[in-house]
Symmetry: D2
Subunit: 399 residues, 4 copies
């Protein structure tokens, strides 16, 4: 294991391909609950989590990220969640880490332990309290010998800095990505400034993940790159966007879209969108290229195939996927065989089959963030009265 | 195992839930190649096929259909396919049957062996030749003790009758579904007449599968039901449609849509569409309710949840899915918690995020069918000259 | 004047081109009020009505139809309308007839007096009462020497028959068109049967007008033609559809669409749609080809230009309109000059510039018709209580 | 005439309402040819031009702008145009001025003489040459006693400055508006800087017209306002946008959209859009509020009705238009009467009835401007070879 090249060495050599989003894909497969986004699946449905790791490995992922999204202890006991009590933060993070390591060893992949923003910060708790939450996860990652650490899905640069600092208490390589778009963080800090502060806090790799589609995310990356260059900083850049088209999302991204999370199907990117994404990301100088919510194995495979020349290899899964639709040469219908060419798929403007639906949505725009009382953590379940009240607030905002 | 209730007994008691489509889902997971739709995955990627069976079992499927789509011998050697030679029809069908039986035993599911239309028919070969193809598969299904047989995905009622007759050479219960819409089969036979002929040929269960979305398919079912009633026939009805919206597909269904098969994402149905589908199918009197291409485990779960009352149980997978978005009560953002109610999701008209794309497409309209030379089976790969010629024909038709 | 060829003679020689809709165009120019669709504009704003006649004459119309839509006496006193009392049915119809005659004489156009369905019928009044309403208008048309009569915009074949019978009390040629689509009249009579009954009642020309777009209307015409042929009848066919795309309208047409009447802009047909309409109508055998609501002068000009070869002449207005965009050869921008060709405009799929709007709407579906109390005529204005009650009914139907 | 209040006095008192676009509306009525946009209609079709003036006066316009768009002499002889030779710049401008004055006197409207960018500038001719073109028009405006002058539809601030300077050789009030959006002029000068330079060149009123929809135009106005404030300048602001939705237009506006000029129908704004536009313009501080291409009389009426309170009067045409659909209270159908309220129309999201068309288009993006050889003026007609060459260039850019 020690002979394997580390992340930074690989990034220096060429593009590193991340994996796709676990919570959305496992929700569709039936093993994760939307809302709490239950990371305890690594304990309760180990086979399902392992299968998804294998799917991504086969698709070309160079990194097996332990499935630990929202697995801080404060999140595991928030709003009626029982996982913190019945299973516990240590057991979940450890099981996830072991799974990642097991599958990574089946290929030549790196392992990764990730932490995300936590309810304690949104509730306005202290820096020490927030860091304490992270240390519980990081301790496991170190003990389970994850190759590097990632602070991802942060909406506030301040909390991100605390998270990076906590990671830097170890000797691991640290990557950092915020779930922001070109408009910057929720406190009004620009994308460029966020990038500079992530790098200065010690991140070796910086970028964005989640919340926006590949193309909106690359706009944010472009601003980050400009900010870093102006500051004379040179971290690697990473991008792990949604696989959902979000030209209409506001500052807070797809969470604000009315389709989130159970009506996003019509927004799912095609594999051809991902070819375009991979190429544009690479040309912008991004070297850690992966995906987040909505990315399925075939999306990652498309990224790996687009960059096959740069990487000197096709992903293992290309044995069941011919580039640019060439497999259709074996279709029984001649007019489908006629589609077995790159030009056809590059030019296609896919229809939605939904003539009563529009192209864009007006996002919910609550405009509240850290410190607002409505965001405070609470241990008890949300009551039906609270839901009714929130629904009324929402209706009023829409009127 | 003998104590288990058979298909007809179950259908008499209430709705039986089928599974979803294997070829499209396994293609996205990375184990099946689009074009030849390689059923040999049961041999080459056993774990992946088993995982998908388990996902559907957990989602509520009462039937584990062996993954044998397009696994006739003539298909396995068509247009450069090597699977017939290197693996063979017996081995593929047997491995698939065993997998279905293995997972079915983990629940209380029935096993099913299915046959589909074959290139020999399209090429204009004789009834005996076509039946001989089917017998190679059916022999395995009998030896592997599949609970019942299904003739599915037939575009011509004539070939369907041959297939049913071949199945009836065994003593198995036989179900039959054509991949047609309200306009009927490719030779101009109405949907109503197709239903009558399937029933008269001996099918105990008749209906449609694939090629059209749930709502277009139910229109076809309605015509079938009327035809059967007029003829005094009473088979059970089955429906296993696409999970893609296809209001714009022509007579030959989604294969004619320009998005087939690599640009269909924007057409994917939501879980709420499936609630509606399950309710409408049940009210029409359909008792075998499942899905085909595009149906993922969560779509089947939605069908099972909608019919939970009629079936007296929720699917196992509902432990990770609260009805009508109730799990969102645990979301950190208040405006997402406000979506934790049925009315919100029933009313949602999801946007596509694709402002440069239309709602509907003009289908390719080649209008060729059985007997046309361009449909003839050939053992050799399609050449690039042939593709260029087909592409030119397509461009001309579009102009 | 007597030397002019009459309608039937012209129809025998080739296509006769009608005019476009007066109420919608005059509403946009500022001289007609939407709701009562005030035909008294011929008295109060004579110049504006004359100008529109001239625009249509120049565009190629062969017929100047007196602006007498909804000018029965019962309509002029319905729901707070004062025109019946202050001006009177005789004066309005007479002024309109004179204007039509004046402008017709400036070209070689025919004059036409038209009657439409009246509130008395919807209110359930007797045949005699309804006929009496029509006689007041027809008397004026005869005295003002209109060349022929038209019964148009009828939703019920029964009332249409009464109207034709009343017209047949004169010796004028009678044309008849219903505002129905392929689904037939409001009492469930098929389009084919409606056509047969119009012809049998004595109409020399039969067809449809208003309520549906050109292409839906031609579907209705096709059914009418089949019905007439089956019955061995040979009247001329006429079509005067909307210039609004209505693929989503229900049985009652565009009135049911939520955009009616103040939000229809996005549905307006282009001139190229009208070329297509004129060609398809002509090929179906329709010989009286015009328009209704939404048709502006340039739409009629497009019809006249498409049929220029069949008619042996271009309309006068073509001096300011080169066919298929050729005038763009004089545009300053080269990329606009590149659009100066037929292929460009025939292939164009125009975008709406409205990414938050859908392609299709769900029509209001009240399903009430003649005899329903809510449709009864009343002399007094609608009260705000009534509006509130209707709005509540509508909201309930939408929920 | 001398007792009438002048423009600046009126602007100080409250909003002044402009008129709508003559070329597009007269093209649809049949009197102007698209491409050369023939201003000679004032000579050849005097009645039609007069009618449109009256329509706008009745709709609430405070200004009758002489129809002199593109009536410089160099434009009248460009690319095969014969109007310069057969009629002449003096005669056209004089006839148009007289018509404006005639109709203005029927109300209390001001008269306006306008000049626009000319081919000589695009062709790279000298400042003196360009100014000489403008002086030919301005001389007529002075002799015909137009109340004020307007330099409108300029894409380059440099040419605009030359135009303003030429106007300032008279003692007339001068207004100035560029056909630019938030991205600024074709030479890369920002909208803010353009505003400052217009004001410094002597314009009393500055703003934008044409090329973009009301809401994109107001974004440009906002930038202009900020620039002016930063420079300590206080001219009045004016806005005369398109009545076509153009969220997808590039820097050069709707001319680049593939729908220009014969496929723009689906983009036409509703009257409710214009209420919103008028309110937002007023709140931004814009005091000269009118329209350009696509604005029909009812659009201007909507602006006048929205600002009725601020202006202390409704337009004359409101006698045939009840606010917010109230006239529908007189409709025969109850479900249409239910639409007689403001909330209904404010909330309506109108569908296009075009399910095969998208919401947005990719604009042509030739990126050439002043000085480019392809933009040079030429007296001879464009040849078919040139069109073929341009079409090939266009196809290549699209591929």
């Amino acid at each position: 294991m020690t002979a394997r090249k580390g992340l930074l060495e690989r990034l220096r050599e060429g593009p590193v391909i991340g994996d796709g989003g676990f919570v959305f894909q496992l929700e569709k497969r039936g093993y994760v609950k939307a809302g709490p986004w239950t990371p305890e699946a690594s304990v309760t449905h180990t086979d399902a989590v392992r299968s998804l790791h294998r799917d991504f490995l086969r698709a070309g992922s160079d990194v097996m990220q332990a499935f630990t999204f929202y697995a801080t202890e404060d999140k595991l006991v928030n709003r009626g969640n029982k996982a913190g009590e019945t299973i516990g933060v240590d057991k979940i993070n450890r099981a996830s880490s072991k799974l990642a390591r097991e599958v990574a060893a089946e290929g030549d992949a790196l392992t990764l332990g990730g932490i995300s923003q936590c309810p304690s910060y949104l509730s306005g708790m202290s820096k020490d309290d927030v860091k304490a939450e992270y240390r519980k996860q990081i301790k496991v990652f170190v003990e389970e010998e994850m190759d590097f650490l990632l602070c991802e899905y942060f909406e506030h640069i301040e909390e991100m800095e605390w998270a990076i600092e906590t990671c830097k208490e170890t000797d691991k390589v640290v990557a950092a990505s915020m779930c922001i778009g070109p408009e910057g963080d929720m406190h009004g800090v620009s994308a460029a400034e966020c990038a500079v502060r992530m790098a200065r806090a010690g991140a070796d790799v910086v970028g964005v993940n989640c919340h926006f589609d590949p193309f909106v995310s690359l706009e944010a990356l472009k601003k980050m790159k400009e900010g870093l260059e102006a500051a004379g900083l040179k971290p690697f850049l990473m991008c792990q966007p949604l696989a959902y088209h979000t030209p209409d999302a506001g500052k807070q991204g797809f969470i604000d879209l009315p389709e989130f999370p159970f009506g996003l199907e019509a927004r799912i990117c095609t594999r051809w969108d991902m070819h375009k994404y991979a190429r544009e990301a690479y040309e912008l100088g991004v070297r850690y290229i992966g995906g987040c919510c909505g990315f399925e194995p075939y999306h990652i495979r498309a990224v790996a195939e687009e960059l096959a020349k740069e990487r000197g290899r096709f992903p293992p899964g290309s044995d069941m996927h011919d580039a640019w639709g060439k497999g259709l040469e074996m279709h029984t219908k001649p007019w489908v065989r006629a589609r077995a060419n790159r030009e056809y798929w590059e030019k296609l403007m896919p229809a939605s089959g939904r003539p009563y639906c529009s192209s864009m949505s007006c996002p919910d725009n609550w405009g509240v963030t850290q410190g607002d009382s409505v965001l405070k953590q609470q241990a008890t379940s949300t009551s039906s009265e609270e839901i009714a009240k929130l629904k009324a607030m929402q209706d009023q905002k829409k009127a």
